[in-house]
């Protein structure tokens, strides 16, 4: 009986497997371009909106924005917000699984590195017709639209609506700079490396390093600050095996080997690098404006920032958050009204002021709140050199394997060249 059971199971598996594959690629809409609904067609409806919140304050803020939109919009649109955990990026997988299972929301917050898996499965709506018909579309700079289009893999279709960006810069402690005898922030990449060495000090004379020049992030997410070192030597993501790129990697390894960064760097993630900076264990570390509020609360005036200095090249990572509309949405014009509100109108202003993130809307950027904040200014300085890790279908896996490969290089298990060969193969194969 068991043998027959097994045989039946196996055949069923094959049959099911092949039919399942057939049905999957037909789900979602085809490549035909839909006619955009015009704004005259918007009737009263409900829009399901999914988002993550980085802390309870932001969570309340989003609820406030939703409430305001519901009260003030002239079409009678009601947005229903559902908060889903960020889960270290598991948010994108949860959203994907739900969409594949037929339960996608209408609009969701999004990270552009997840774009390929959604577009390859035809889950997202093409926003081009809606943006083209929008009179305020130039409020968002062309560069940002281009980054979004590139991430979506096409020059014509726009799948991601910009929402806010976070430009990475270098935080530093003025007091430690003073103690190390540094009088001004580094203007070149080489000066930057020098300053890291100068700031590594033994302050209480017990022979052990008490302050490290730089808080290196070797755990997940670390590929973003790391990119600046590669570009500083003239390398690039397009060819990680070039001599320039390998030299950038070697700089990175040397910082670790020579003790200018904490030994725990291979496992230091966001929490750890922030903690080390706040406690005075490190003099500098790279992050974006999202953490500035907490910094100021803890360190007051003894924290400032400068933009990634120019070397043979100059690059900083652009953190991003977008909104997307799902193709399964039945009220696309209404959904777009909500997305517009978040990107350029009151929603943008409320969100960016509340979270301290950089607005994409140029009108909002000009407002006093943003012009008067030193971290905001440094961020805006970096917009022209900001970019992202290339968004390909290999990117997600590349990002999750990055820490393991890097720690092999930092600990000397593999050389800089071997490391870059591995990384290049995984990304650009």
């Amino acid at each position: 009986m068991k043998k027959r059971l097994l045989a039946v199971l196996l055949t069923a598996a094959m049959v099911l497997g092949m039919t399942a594959c057939g049905s999957k690629s037909n789900s979602g809409s085809s490549d035909k371009k839909e006619e955009a609904q015009s704004t005259d067609d918007i009737k009263e409806c409900t829009i399901k909106f999914q988002y993550w919140a980085d802390n309870t304050d932001y969570s309340s803020l989003m609820q406030d924005i939703i409430k305001k939109f519901n009260e003030e919009n002239k079409y009678g649109i009601t947005v229903e917000g559902e908060e889903v955990p960020w889960d270290g990026g598991g948010y994108s997988n949860t959203l994907f699984n739900a969409a594949m299972g037929g339960g996608a929301p209408d609009v969701a917050t999004f990270k552009l590195s997840a774009t390929p898996m959604f577009t390859n499965n035809n889950l997202l709506a093409d926003l081009t017709p809606y943006v083209d018909a929008w009179d305020k579309k130039d409020d968002i700079s062309d560069n940002i639209y281009d980054v979004m289009k590139k991430a979506g893999g096409s020059d014509d279709s726009l799948y991601l609506m910009p929402w806010n960006i976070q430009v990475l810069y270098v935080y530093y402690r003025p007091s430690i700079f003073k103690e190390a005898g540094i009088t001004e922030t580094p203007k070149t990449y080489d000066e930057f490396l020098e300053d890291i060495k100068k700031c590594t000090m033994d302050t209480d004379g017990d022979g052990k390093t008490d302050v490290y020049g730089f808080g290196m992030r070797g755990a997940s997410g670390g590929q973003e600050p790391w990119g600046s070192f590669i570009y500083g030597e003239g390398g690039s993501f397009d060819d990680l095996t070039s001599d320039a790129s390998v030299q950038g990697m070697q700089d990175f390894i040397d910082l670790y080997k020579n003790g200018y960064v904490p030994e725990s760097a291979t496992n230091d993630g966001f929490n750890e690098t922030v903690a080390n900076f706040k406690s005075g264990k490190t003099a500098m570390f790279i992050h974006h404006i999202g953490s500035s509020k907490g910094m100021v609360e803890e360190l007051g005036d003894d924290v400032d920032a400068f933009i990634i200095p120019k070397g043979k090249g100059q690059w900083t990572s652009m953190g991003d958050t977008e909104t997307v509309m799902f193709d399964s949405c039945e009220n696309k014009a209404a959904a777009f009204e909500w997305m517009k509100y978040l990107a350029t109108e009151e929603g943008q202003e409320m969100w960016c002021e509340g979270t301290g993130q950089v607005p994409v809307s140029q009108t909002v950027q000009q407002k006093d709140y943003f012009q008067n904040d030193k971290f905001m200014k440094v961020s805006m300085e970096g917009v022209d050199i900001a970019g992202t890790v290339p968004v390909k279908d290999t990117t997600t896996e590349w990002i999750s394997n990055w820490p393991a490969t890097i720690s092999q290089a930092l600990t000397g298990e593999i050389t800089a060249k071997e490391c870059m060969d591995k990384l290049d193969k995984a990304l650009n194969e």
Binding site: L5, T56, S59, S60, Q63, E83, A98, M100, G102, F270
Partner: protein, 277 residues
């Protein structure tokens, strides 16, 4: 009964107990003091008792969007219902496996065991579809169904083990005395099985209490369980240690209290029951 000397009792009971308890409880202690320390105290020299005690994390859990009370209620309902359903179904099934011989028995037992060898992450998309088609999505029933399915196999095997260890003589004696099988089950087996039912029930309860992968997919804000609520305290900007640890403490204490009352059923079974003769 001989009175053991105090020294002997100390060495064979109290000392090992204290050592093991220290290992078990230290992380709990650490979680607790982290929840009452202000954030600034976490990043510096290690302190074993907060310099400044603050309870606001506990109030924040319930008054802000975390809405922990709702999450606790949801977790509790799901876990309790799952325990009842799963325990009933598995007790019946394992009694059959243990006391009867029938065609297909071994195949079914093997099927039950192999069911849990497959990682759940690979089953998510089809299961989500199934729940959606059954209309159970975003209700507690989706989780009850999922958890029952995944706790049944282990429960059946656990109870099977307990059943097999129980001597048959008791049932046989009852049958000889004129009870039919069903009466024997309820009057003789069930009371002695008490501790095993408690243990298996705890296993089922804990599994549903702690589960995250299905919970995040099958619930929304209103029906989310504790693990999902806790995960939402970890954003891109890092962990909210205060809220997370406070949430952990609040999760742990009620269950331990519940178990304190349940464990009274873990009393020496056979000597109490069999003496009646």
């Amino acid at each position: 009964m001989k009175r053991e000397s105090f020294l002997k009792r100390f060495l064979t009971l109290y000392l090992p107990l204290i050592v093991i308890l220290l290992f078990i409880l230290f992380p709990f202690y650490w979680t607790f003091i982290t929840s009452i320390k202000p954030d600034t105290e976490l990043y510096g020299a290690v302190t074993y008792w907060p310099r400044q005690v603050q309870w606001e994390n506990y109030t924040k859990l319930f008054t802000t969007t975390v809405n922990f009370l709702a999450a606790m209620k949801n977790s509790f309902i799901v876990a309790a219902v799952t325990t009842v359903v799963s325990l009933t179904a598995s007790t019946l099934a394992s009694y059959a496996f243990s006391r009867y011989r029938f065609a297909g028995r071994r195949a079914m037992m093997a099927l039950f065991l192999s069911n849990n060898m497959f990682p759940t992450v690979l089953l998510l998309i089809p299961l989500y579809s199934i729940m959606r088609n059954l209309g159970l999505l975003y209700t507690p029933w989706a989780l009850v169904l999922a958890y029952t399915t995944f706790t049944l196999p282990f429960s059946v095997w656990l109870l099977n083990g307990f059943f097999n260890d129980l001597p048959l003589s008791l049932e046989e004696a009852a049958l000889v005395d004129g009870c039919n099988r069903r009466m024997a089950f309820f009057k003789i087996i069930l009371p002695i099985l008490g501790p095993c039912l408690v243990a298996t029930g705890v296993y089922i309860f804990m599994t549903s209490w702690n589960e995250y992968t299905f919970a995040v997919m099958f619930t929304n804000n209103a029906t989310r369980t504790i693990p999902v609520a806790l995960k939402s305290l970890i954003g891109q900007l890092g962990v909210d240690w205060g809220l997370l640890t406070a949430g952990g403490i609040i999760t742990i204490i009620p269950v331990c209290i519940m178990f304190f009352f349940a464990q009274k059923r873990l009393v020496e079974g056979l000597t109490a029951g069999a003496v009646k003769g």
